[in-house]
Symmetry: C2
Subunit: 600 residues, 2 copies
């Protein structure tokens, strides 16, 4: 079973060296005085200790035991509840929440780096506090004062947890067709009736109350997405003095048997005229929900990073240990009966792919995390707007591309173990199963691809794309005379240019036939993901070269960065070529077959 | 839960129209008089009925229940034993075995088409008779007359089953380092001692005896692969009159908890001075084993085909039924609250990928199956040798490429279902889990890649590659003036040429550094796989065009073939571009990082 070791050195490299976290915080008035490098590192170390020693040992237990459902009551796996109590004691739930509700008022970006460690050591467990976080954000942004006062303090402290109840059995990607009803009661509350499915952490034994955030339709609401409202529906009603009162008509009908994340309860939640309270304006529920969804999508991007990191850690340890065959270029460990498999190029290719994805994902996620700080706390409207643009553009890339990369890394993790990878005790196949959901929930890869190409790129006439390609362009211009960077800057500049041309090409075709967007979107997303990561790998290589030039003694660390960047550019980035060619062939090869002719 | 429907029309298309099965059999003296199209179709229909109605309903039960181990005794899932009795009654175990041992003497290729249906409806179940088949082949080829007479009749009838005991805990890909010992007894038998792992069907309750074929080392045997011998070790010793006698010292120590194929018992088998009998010459066990391994590798290629087919069937049904959002080019089912998701290009892309892989895999597997007939029964030594060359070359491609394609198809199957794909009851995630082993056992993808590029291509100075590219070249030459085929023939001819150039390029580099072979092998394998399937898709499109030109009324069927070929050429085949570029970057980006510097 793989023992998680928090990659603190690499996290600090990205935070402090690549992204200058201290400088970033110093520019945000709310954090300028309070958030220092020392504070950040202290939190990281506390979280690393908790994740390595409390959560990681529960990861396989959670998978093996799963959650148990008995007549509406859900029991989480052994140790989950106790770990959650420790998590509360350490103050993690309140980290980035507002101070007036008991939060520590620390940056969201710090919370995200911690969520990486939580998620990598035990994703299923991490979803319980993770979902709460989304509910807190939604309430902070859209709740009334009274609602905030009622629910936030207990959610922020972690005493209660939250959920997001969107999906119904017939409505997942397409929330416009949900059927759950909200009928006004005389006291201003609403009676919520309907069945929600796939409610993560929808019922459990870890907290004394669960606050559901529910999408439902008011009587006479317009059809489609413009007739959906958002409601707070607590598991236990809250008394006038804020205590937990009588049970609301909310019940967990069953939990799903699923491929992975067995330790998290995926619930069917039945609302039977349950008492609920409108959040935000009527019929604007989906808009309010987007606040949460963006957070959730970055959170899911973290799952991709986590899968790359955990499968990488497991595979490297095994590849150094396992002996099989001799290197084709002659024995490397002649004293042993065979060479460790890390000598074989095909094994190294898998390990380096995982490493390139894990560390590249970390750079992208932390970069996004900083912009998420700026969106909320930027000093000027201009800064906030710019950050929002970058965030809007990169979120679907991060969510879809990093989760697909995580799935690929997990696949390599199994493969490096050979037949042993298929066996549960080694923990590698669990990563494949756990991370498979990341490409599905919070908007599938295909939905993210449409969001990226349709909404973010084409609907803005390329404005958001340009905001990001400008960053890459500036980087390339600044380093074009650096001989050591040439191997990265030249191909990156070429791809950056091609990105715009490719977009133009698709845009032109889409004017003739809107289905061209759907046909190109997934390849476009992958293309965008590979180029985005290429930018981060070039940036990391540059930073490493600078550190070496400055005389750093950490030569192995920085050389590994440069080597991995080189690997990424020569072995991963060529994948863009297929995507370009596939996009060029357009929509017609996809649409010619009648639905009934797929199977004859 | 997906209900398997045997794709008889497509199987018949490949067998009779594309590959002219009747003509093929007519050229093999042993089958010329006996095997007709009617006979083939009759067997297919009987097998289809059995697979659809007996095996398919047990597929999810097997996954859910798994096998149970209790003090050395293994119980298979509900219904498995009964289905096996029916399988025996229908005469399937004896199909392609030699008549003198009770076999029906029918072609191996017919057995392979039937194994497709068995495997697609229930892979875990199919492994029990599948492993027996390997043991039978090994005994037929290498057993003494006395051994054949003792074991074959009962194995052929299906009353006993067989296993192949190769792997040990420390030795999988590298069988040269196995430790199981065989010490001579005074009566000419051997005392076998050691522990074998990953023994599929190693212990179960479906047959009265289990015949293990075991690799072990004789005292004083040379180190490495040249010191391994092959032994027969029955679970129950056989009495002088051929009956089941007393228990041999063979025991199932445990069964593995694993990612998938839960219905099949993956056993640790302990031999404690168990009585065994040498098969074939001393120290030549691995060579004898290769007979079985080639069969097993085609058998595993079938698993890839099966995963593509089953996930395709499930996904198409769901995509026609599930409603979500409107087509970007306007509502296609305005009377419904949303369009069926099969209208969306991204969904079609996944379905067509599955279709192209399933039907392309079928063509390649059946093509190989015919050559496997010819290797054994070809009229002349020249024919047999040629068939052996084609088979040797294409086996690693079929094994590795088709299983990877099967895994990809299974992934799409989950994705088409969205969040529901993650839920066990729909059966789509089971396909992912079950088929994951196919890329690992019988030689991982990386081992197959080395076998292809190192042994089959470079060690023969490209001779085996040329045998196959000549087939493609002839096809392209014959059809170069066919305007309707131009879209397929031109790119295929170009790729076929590039295949040779790519090989030359790698060969040159490998002379400088043997690790270049390991660095290029996996990409080379994928490249080879895509080109090989392109040949089959072009051939199928040609056949379809011919049928339409002849006035066939099955226009939907044949047009679907042409449409799918077009999809394959425009949306899948461009993947070769990345592999070419990746190969060009050579070994150095893979070898620069010291083993200890992967994680710092």
């Amino acid at each position: 079973m793989p023992q998680y070791k928090a990659p603190l050195r690499d996290m600090q490299f990205v935070l402090h060296e690549l992204l200058n976290a201290e400088e970033h915080y110093s520019k945000l008035p709310v954090f300028a005085e309070t958030v220092s490098r020392e504070l950040v590192d202290q939190y990281l170390e506390t979280a690393a200790d908790f994740c390595e020693n409390e959560l990681s040992p529960l990861n396989q237990i959670g998978d093996r035991e799963g959650c148990k459902w008995d007549d509406g009551v859900v029991t989480t796996p052994t140790g989950f509840k106790e770990a959650y109590q420790k998590y509360i004691e350490l103050g993690f739930p309140s980290l980035s929440a507002e101070e007036q509700y008991g939060g520590q008022g620390l940056p969201n970006s710090l919370g995200i780096t911690i969520s990486e460690m939580v998620g990598t050591s035990n994703w299923a467990w991490g979803m319980y506090p993770g979902l709460s976080h989304g509910a807190v954000r939604t309430l902070e942004h859209h709740g009334s004062e009274q609602q905030k006062n009622t629910y936030l303090p207990k959610l922020v402290s972690g005493e209660w947890t939250g959920t997001m109840c969107l999906t119904e059995s017939h409505a997942g990607s397409d929330l416009g067709i949900i059927r759950t009803k909200a009928e006004p009661n005389e006291d201003g509350s609403f009676a919520i009736s309907g069945e929600k499915i796939f409610i993560s952490a929808g019922e459990h034994d870890m907290a004394e109350n669960i606050i559901h955030i529910v999408l439902a339709r008011l009587p006479g609401a317009p059809k489609g997405t413009k007739g959906i409202s958002l409601f707070i529906v607590p598991k236990f009603n809250i008394t006038a003095d804020g205590a937990v009162g009588e049970r609301n008509a909310v019940r967990c009908g069953s939990i799903e048997h699923k491929m992975g994340i067995h330790g998290n309860a995926t619930c069917v939640i039945n609302f039977d005229r349950a008492k609920g309270f409108l959040i935000g304006p009527e019929n604007r529920g989906l808009n309010c929900m987007f606040t949460f969804m963006n957070t959730a999508r970055i959170g899911t991007a973290v799952q991709g990073l986590s899968a790359s990191e955990s499968s990488f850690q497991g595979a490297v340890a095994y590849a150094k240990d396992r002996l099989a065959m001799r290197s084709l270029s002659g024995p490397k460990a002649p004293e042993k009966e065979a060479d460790p498999i890390i000598v074989h190029p095909a094994v190294r290719n898998m390990l380096l792919t995982q490493k390139a994805f894990a560390e590249g994902s970390r750079a992208l996620v932390y970069f996004l995390a900083q912009f998420s700080d700026t969106v909320e706390h930027g000093a000027t409207e201009e800064e906030r707007k710019y950050a929002d643009n970058i965030l809007s553009f990169l979120t679907p890339i991060a969510k879809a591309f990093l989760t697909e990369a995580g799935s690929e890394s997990a696949k390599h993790g199994v493969q490096v173990f050979g037949g042993h990878g298929f066996i549960s005790e080694h923990g590698m196949e669990q990563i494949v199963r756990d991370t498979r959901i990341a490409c599905l929930y919070e908007g599938t890869t295909e939905i993210q691809a449409l969001d990226l190409l349709g909404r973010k790129v084409l609907q803005t006439q390329g404005a958001l794309l340009k905001d990001f390609t400008k960053i890459i362009h500036k980087f390339c211009e600044a380093n074009k005379d650096n001989a050591e960077q040439k191997e990265f800057v030249e191909p990156l500049a070429a791809l950056n240019k091609e990105w715009g041309e490719l977009t133009m090409q698709i845009g032109m075709k889409a004017m003739q036939n809107p289905d061209e967007v759907g046909a190109a979107a997934v390849d476009y997303l992958y293309y965008s993901g590979y180029v985005t990561l290429a930018y981060f790998w070039a940036s990391m290589a540059l930073k490493a070269q600078q550190k070496l030039a400055e005389g750093s003694t950490e030569t192995a660390f920085y050389n590994a960065k440069i080597t991995t960047a080189r690997f990424y550019f020569s072995k991963i980035l060529p994948r863009t070529k297929s995507h370009v060619a596939t996009i060029a062939s357009g929509v017609s090869p996809l649409m010619a077959l009648a639905a009934d002719d797929f199977i004859i």
